[in-house]
């Protein structure tokens, strides 16, 4: 690991100014991913600005309904928050399905969103990777691709975003609050992460020096139920092969409101808007759910090792919506 400077920020403005002024600077949250990358030689910042002491560690109900989650709220605390558990169970379930207890105690809300792919080639400085070193090529595309993308990938990158929490937030229509040198802006969660295109080195639309300060959730959809289902070989402490976050409201046997997001399939949390459109007003039956899943997945492009993700996603979307419609747990 290269030596680096460390500064502990006490207010947002100073933190933003410090990182914005130094191209080699990075914000440090819980460190559960950035420090790993530094040890692996994948990241080598000159300066770390620790933001975990900033006054951003609260979960607050918003006056007009909804919830504001501070960027330094730890994953464990967010998962255990009574309001989250009662009104946004999909978020609590997603958080608890991620990492391990020890990591969740450290990992922050903002850091979780900004964690980077665990593509084995990205994490190995000895192999070419367009995300790590633009222009060197993608080792994954013709390599080991069991964990890689089936939706929205490009010639230059087939990595997936690893977060569970972000998938739930995508289904909840969350909005990210970011502060940069030019002030504050609100970014829909689904617009925060990018598809790789020909610039896979850029995971998000954030500019250097912009700091996530909060995530805001709209008030819960009245009468809707939500759930998160993560599919993986190992029962715990493994990234998703496929995951599904869904919010569903059914009335008179028909789908009135539905939001579906997929994890483990794309460079970003994948909001399944085609499936949602196909379901609005449709009978809330397993057949319809499967049909809608098929519409969403029609665009899937598979690699050598990941074709199984398509039937896995189809079956899991179907099962999660079926269980939500039934009123049972998925």
């Amino acid at each position: 690991m290269k030596t680096f400077d460390y500064r502990r920020a006490t207010d947002v403005g100073t933190a933003v100014a410090a990182v914005a002024a130094d191209p080699g600077a990075a914000f440090l949250g819980g460190g559960t991913n950035l420090v790993d990358r530094m040890k692996l030689g994948v990241a080598s910042p000159d300066l770390l600005v620790d933001v975990t002491r900033l006054p951003l560690d609260r979960v607050q109900e918003l006056p007009g309904g909804g919830l504001r989650i501070g960027a330094t709220v730890r994953n464990s605390d967010l998962a255990a928050d009574p309001v989250v558990r009662a009104h946004y169970p999909v978020l609590s379930q997603a958080l608890l399905s991620g990492a391990s207890g020890q990591l969740r105690n450290l990992a922050t809300t903002g850091g979780n969103l900004l964690q980077r792919t665990r593509c084995v080639y990205f994490q190995d400085p000895d192999t070419p990777c367009n995300k790590r070193e633009p222009g060197t090529g993608c080792s994954a595309r013709d390599g080991y691709t069991r964990y890689h993308a089936v939706l929205g990938a490009s010639e230059s990158c087939v990595a997936v975003h690893p977060s569970d929490m972000a998938v739930a937030l995508a289904a909840l229509d969350a909005v990210v609050v970011a502060v940069g040198p030019d002030g504050e802006r609100w970014i829909p969660l689904t617009d925060l992460h990018r598809l790789p295109g020909d610039a896979p080195e850029r995971d998000t639309v954030l500019r250097h020096g912009e700091l996530i300060t909060a995530v805001e959730l709209p008030e819960p959809v009245p009468g809707a139920r939500s759930a998160y289902r993560k599919v993986r070989d190992r029962a715990s402490f493994a990234f998703a092969l496929v995951s599904v976050a869904a919010v569903l409201r059914v009335a008179d046997g028909r789908v009135r409101d539905v939001r579906i997001a997929l994890g483990g399939v794309a460079h970003k949390p994948w909001r399944a808007t085609r499936a949602e459109e196909a379901l609005i007003g449709a009978p809330a039956t397993a057949e319809e759910f499967e049909r809608a899943a098929g519409i969403e997945l029609a665009a899937a492009r598979t690699l050598r090792d990941n074709a199984f993700k398509v039937p896995t996603a189809r079956n899991t979307i179907t099962a999660v919506l079926r269980d939500l419609a039934r009123g049972g747990d998925s």
Partner: protein
């Protein structure tokens, strides 16, 4: 007959004597050793899988803060022997596998060493490499002459039922919690190494030869070892590199710990296997022929053969038997021991095939195995000293609730989960090697100092040897002052082949008997006696092996293909149990590792680069707590008067043998999908 020891401490449920030291952090492992003014080593690894190092620019590394030396093949001290090519570190410019040590930085801190290692610029003349194993290769060579008893082809031609299928296991990597670590200290022309090893007396002669020293000038110390699973049973390049660095820096002890990624490069691993099994049976379900044809890989620089046909030789009666073992030589790191080498992958193939053959014969898989039990070792014709495979199958079936099992696959459902059960046999030979010695000395404190250069790699040897010494001397355990883990103590064999208790325990018993013969029951301070483990001549007359039966209940998700092991029962016939507590841990640990083998472990070697791409524990998965359901390991009473004075057979490895087959067989019963290629990941089942 040997005359079994009268037992008081042996057999009890005894707390680990080293347990408190370990959980309080007082137990000093190799890297923890406080040495004067240590330096730290970090290696530079080859980025190509085959070729030559043509350029080395070490200037930036040498100029970096805290760097003491940069070793390369150009300046490293010459070794006295390079006969063992795995250990010929930095002796020439040849690269034989990706990740091989090609340079090393020694610095004042581990961080400085690591940072400077990244500054060493290495140029290569790469050559085309070949790392892909396939049974279709035209360059396979026979690791042993094909062996046939009877006429397999004729038996197959005449059989009522023939099963013929190929099973594969992937590369699997031993990953003990403690990576391989060495602290090397040169002084007065001698070398002392604190080493994470399964055998101090295994390491000493190897280092003596490599460095050209009299063995008496080499001392190896390993009082506590954080797991080995075979990877620390043979000497690997890491300790030689630490020794070279210490020799190059007089007065500076050198500490070197492998990274987790290095564990996938230089610490040994289990070869992938391709195993064709043919079974022929008559109309009554009696086997008439067994054929086991194995293809494996071996490193170009050093051959290691994983003897997968070994268990097939003694497991079932079949008058016609054929074994074949072929190898491909590849540009890969050296393969080596991993828990139950041979038996573990071999029994996945054989016991999967037995399940399929039972189905083909229309027989219950337990009954099919019972019907094919043998009272004599098929190859040698010798009787078994004891053999309780059938008793294990029966007892396991009773405990598991096997009776009344519906054999139809894919018909039991619990919500979205398909449920099935499976069984497999286990076996592991009783390995005994003469040559271990022990000394008993009566101390001033009224306790008996029992010394033997054995190693406890987490198995419980500290405790088991204390119990054995107590019974052999007929005193309570607290009168025993055991000393192990140091080559200054009497010679002991390696902690491998589940043989530690047999070999070391016998030496301890011999020493205790000699002590009582010479000094009686009222010894004086300083009285001592020595005893040695000699060849067990009963091996000429008896085949000796432990047996077991593993039962698994498995759920497979109908929509996603996720596989979960709900329940396992392992019943073992392993002779006498020395310590009921540590024995249960050993057997359960083997079964848990078997779950990992069945469901998770798969080192993915990228053929383009030649390295394992999932080379850490984030990506190379072993079972987590949530993967382990209700798991029971028990044993049946077995008195074997032929194996050794303790009546033990060895328990370190049998727990993993057969476990993966039981799980794969249960997954088939759950789904109707037969997976012959490990691991059983979701994609095999999702539709």
């Amino acid at each position: 007959m040997i005359g079994l020891l009268h037992t008081r401490s042996i057999g009890a449920d005894v707390e680990r004597v080293d347990g408190r030291a370990k959980v309080t952090g007082a137990a000093a492992y190799a890297f923890d050793q406080p040495v004067e003014n240590p330096a730290y080593l970090h290696p530079v690894r080859s980025a190509v899988a085959r070729g030559r190092v043509t350029g080395l620019d070490t200037a930036a590394a040498e100029a970096a803060d805290g760097v003491l030396a940069v070793l390369t093949h150009r300046n490293a001290p010459r070794l006295a022997s390079t006969d063992d090519t795995e250990l010929a570190v930095l002796q020439d410019d040849a690269v034989a596998f990706h990740g091989q040590f090609v340079a090393a930085v020694v610095a004042e801190t581990p961080e400085a060493a690591r940072r400077a290692a990244a500054l060493v610029a290495v140029e290569y003349a790469g050559e085309p490499h070949d790392v892909v194993l396939s049974a279709d290769r035209d360059d396979l060579y026979a690791a042993q002459e094909p062996e046939e008893h009877g006429d397999v082809d004729a038996a197959i031609a005449a059989a009522a039922v023939v099963h013929d299928a190929t099973y594969t296991t992937p590369p699997e990597f031993n990953n003990p919690m403690e990576p391989h670590t060495s602290v090397a200290v040169w002084d007065d022309g001698g070398l002392t190494v604190y080493e994470s090893t399964q055998g101090v007396h295994t390491v000493r002669p190897v280092l003596a030869e490599v460095f050209g020293l009299d063995p008496e000038r080499v001392r190896v110390i390993a009082r506590y070892v954080g797991g080995g699973f075979g990877s620390k049973g043979t000497v690997h390049a890491n300790v030689v590199l630490a020794g070279l660095a210490a020799r190059a820096l007089p007065g500076r002890p050198v500490k070197f710990a492998l990274t987790r990624q290095d564990m996938f490069r230089v610490a040994g691993y289990r070869t992938p296997t391709v195993q064709r099994v043919r079974l022929a049976a008559d109309a009554d379900g009696r086997l008439t022929a067994v054929e086991h044809d194995v293809v494996e890989q071996s490193a170009r620089i050093k051959e290691f053969v994983e003897g997968c046909t070994k268990p097939t030789r003694g497991m079932y009666a079949a008058p016609n038997r054929r074994y074949r073992q072929r190898m491909a030589t590849l540009d890969v790191p050296v393969t080596s021991w991993m828990r139950a080498p041979g038996e573990c992958p071999g029994m996945f193939a054989l016991e999967s095939a037995m399940d399929e053959a039972a189905i083909a014969c229309g027989l219950d898989p337990v009954e099919f195995r019972v019907r094919n039990d043998t009272r004599t070792d098929p190859d040698s014709g010798k009787p078994f000293s004891t053999r309780n495979l059938v008793a294990c199958l029966r007892e396991g079936a009773r405990r598991f609730g096997w009776e009344g099992r519906d054999p139809a696959p894919g018909v039991r459902r619990d919500g979205d989960w398909l449920v099935g059960t499976g069984v497999a046999g286990s076996c592991y030979p009783v390995i005994s090697d003469p040559g271990s010695a022990a000394v008993v000395r009566y101390g001033a404190d009224g306790r008996y100092q029992v010394s033997i250069g054995a190693a406890d790699i987490g198995t419980g040897a500290w405790t088991a040897l204390t119990q054995i010494a107590a019974d052999a001397l007929r005193v309570p355990m607290d009168r025993i002052d055991l000393r192990i883990g140091d080559s200054a103590l009497p010679r002991a064999t390696v902690a491998g082949g589940s043989s530690g208790t047999t070999n070391w325990g016998t030496a301890v018993v011999e020493a205790a008997r000699a002590f009582r013969d010479q000094h009686g029951v009222h010894p004086r301070e300083g009285d001592e006696a020595r005893g040695e483990m000699r060849e067990n001549t009963a091996k000429e007359h008896y085949a000796m092996s432990a047996y077991g039966a593993q039962f698994a209940e498995v759920r497979v998700h109908a929509g996603t293909g996720e596989v979960r092991v709900q329940r396992m029962v392992g019943v073992f016939a392993v002779g006498r149990i020395v310590n009921a507590r540590t024995a249960r841990s050993q057997l359960l640990g083997g079964m848990v590792m078997g779950v990992s083998m069945a469901l998770h472990e798969h080192g993915v070697r990228d053929p383009r680069f030649g390295h394992v791409v999932n080379h850490d524990l984030a990506e190379y998965h072993v079972a987590a707590n949530a993967d382990i359901g209700d798991m029971e390991a028990v044993w049946i009473e077995e008195e074997d008067p032929h194996v050794n004075p303790m009546g033990t057979k060895g328990i370190g490895e049998i727990g993993i043998v057969g476990a993966a087959a039981a799980i794969a067989n249960a997954a088939h019963h759950a789904t109707g999908v037969r997976v012959r290629d490990l691991p059983l990941t979701t994609d095999a089942f999702v539709r």
